[in-house]
Each structure stands twice: as C-alpha cells, then as structure tokens.
Amino acid sequence: MIKRVIALTLLAGLGLLFLGLLLDYRPDTDLNLSARYYAERTAPDLGAANIVTAIVVTYRGLDTLGEVTVLFLSATIVGLVLALGRRRGQAPAGLAPVGELLTTGSRMLTPLILLLGAYVFVNGHLTPGGGFQGGAILASGILLLLLADPLRHFSHGLISAVESLAGVFYVAIGLAGLVWAGGFLDNRILPLGDLGALFSAGAIPVIYSLIGLKVGAEFASMLASLAETEEL
C-alpha cells in the first residue's frame, strides 16, 4: 500500500512537470528555422518527395545508422541471451494441431505481405513509410508463417547473411558519400533524377531498401530466437 502512495506522489511531481509543459505549449504558426530549411531545400538539393524520408536518411543519416545499429544490437544480444539459455537444449514435445483456417490463410497471405513490405521500402522516398515500416511488414509476414507452423526452422545463417550484407553496404554507401560527395551518408553520389520518379533522390532509395531488408532480417532473427525458446 505504501508503495502505491509513494508512486503516486512521485508521479504527481512528474505530472506537475508535464502540466507545466502542456499549459505553456503554443503550437507554432509557421515553420521554425530547421523545418523551413527542409521544406525549401529538400526538393532541389536531394530530390526526394517525402521530406521525412530525406531527413531520416540523409540530413539525420547518422541517427538512422545508429538506429539500425540499435536493432542489430538487440537482435544479436537476444540471440546471445537465448543461445546461452538453449545450450541446455530442450526438445519441444508434441504440438497442438494448428487451425486449418490459419494454414491456408498464411499460405495465401504471406506472399502478399512480403510484396507490400517490399513496395513500402522501395518507394520510401516518394510515399509515406520507408525502410523501417517495410521491414516491420516483412517481419509480420514471417511471424504469420511462424504462427502457422511453430516448428518451422529458419536458417539463422541466411538471416544473418542478409543482415550483415545490408549493414556493410549501408556503411559502404555512407563512406562513399564521404569520399565522393559532400559528406558521410550524402545521397548525391547517385544522380538526383526528377522529383517523384522511382529512380530519384540519389542514394536514398538504395539506402532505404537496404534498411528495409536489414530491419526485416533482424526482426526475423529475433522472432526465430524467441520462437525456439518455446517450451512445449
């Protein structure tokens, strides 16, 4: 009981803080310094239609690189943590039969999900969405497969190969930007093309699809690791 009271008082203090933020908050009437720059300069400089993608991939490219590393790290550590666990190796016992609706549904839906995922991260620089969202969709496809058949074994080698290759290429493109273009992760190493076309905005689509693949692979490896710990 005392724990609740203390928790409430502390959160009341924090709430006071947030209240201070909420009450004095005045939404901007027009774009501030950075937003105005991005609005004006994205199209001519980077040739990307989706400004958020331009920011995510190029302007704040290092963040995204860090972010991808976070995911890579989480996947690796999850693999490490659960690998340590599995060394004691429990063979899964008999399984409850999977519903018929799920198996046929997954057989039909999975290709569509994978197709949608690919579309999302390929058109990242044009339409809303991008590498991460596409990767998540790919992972949901794989999750569906796992749900349908828990015993399915995914070859970790393939997943980590995809993951690593994507990561290496991403860093290579970044360095290429440093060597040939203006700076690390600069997308002007490829022609900008015209706004709105598929092959435009320099290296952004390439980077974003690499990210898509990498995120998809990482989610897959995490799901696989978590699945293999299934104690049936």
Partner: protein, 121 residues
C-alpha cells in the same frame, strides 16, 4: 476550440504517467515491460503532437503539395523523423528486456523482481 495537438499531447502525458505507475507498482517482470511499452507509446505520441500545425498537411511533396508551396502548406517534418527513431529504439530495448525476463525466469523460476535482489548494499 482546443487544438488537436494539445489533446494528443495531454493523452501522451497521461499515457506516460500510467505507464510509469504500472512499472512502479507491479512486481511481475512482464507487467513492468508492458508498462514501459505503454510509457514509450505515450512518449511517441507527445513527440508527434509537437510538430502539428492547424490546417496543414503531411510533408510529402506530390501533386497535392507542389514544392513551391511546401513552406506554407506542410507541418514540421523533424518530429516525424525523430519519432521514427524513438519507436525503433523503444522496440529494441523492449525486445532486450523480454529476453532478460526469459533468462531470469529460467534462472530463478519466478518473475517477481524482489526475488532478484541478491546484489545489494
């Protein structure tokens, strides 16, 4: 009429407080992890609501919003980019906490955080 972003921000803050309250009072590891995800959702909500401007559209340059009018028509794209990263990082930490929870359960056979306090003083 109260601006939509204020409502979103308020709900964000409330979500954060609920999440933290859940994390603080629940002894069970999984409940704590779920509570933290709720808090992360609240944070993301606040992040997104900051950039919103009344009567403006998404920062995508297409037929509806030509490049020339972009400055007057689109909302602030930066929070959108930040929230993307924040979500992914939140996911990464949650995945890690789940893996830890699993190993802790495997080690001690219990999910009560109070049982894992042999490192003290």
């Amino acid at each position: 009429m109260v601006d939509i972003s204020l409502i979103a921000m308020a709900t964000g803050f409330v979500l954060i407080l609920i999440g933290l309250y859940g994390a603080l009072t629940n002894g069970n590891l999984l409940r704590m992890i779920v509570a933290f995800t709720v808090a992360d959702a609240g944070v993301n909500l606040v992040l997104v609501s900051v950039g919103y401007m009344r009567g403006r559209t998404a920062p995508i340059l297409d037929s509806a919003v030509p490049a020339a009018e972009a400055v007057a028509r689109i909302i602030d794209p930066v929070p959108q980019a930040l929230v993307l990263t924040a979500i992914v990082i939140g996911l990464g930490v949650t995945a890690l906490m789940l893996a830890y929870a699993y190993r802790l359960y495997e080690a001690k056979g219990t999910l009560d955080i109070a049982k894992f306090s042999e490192l003290k003083w």
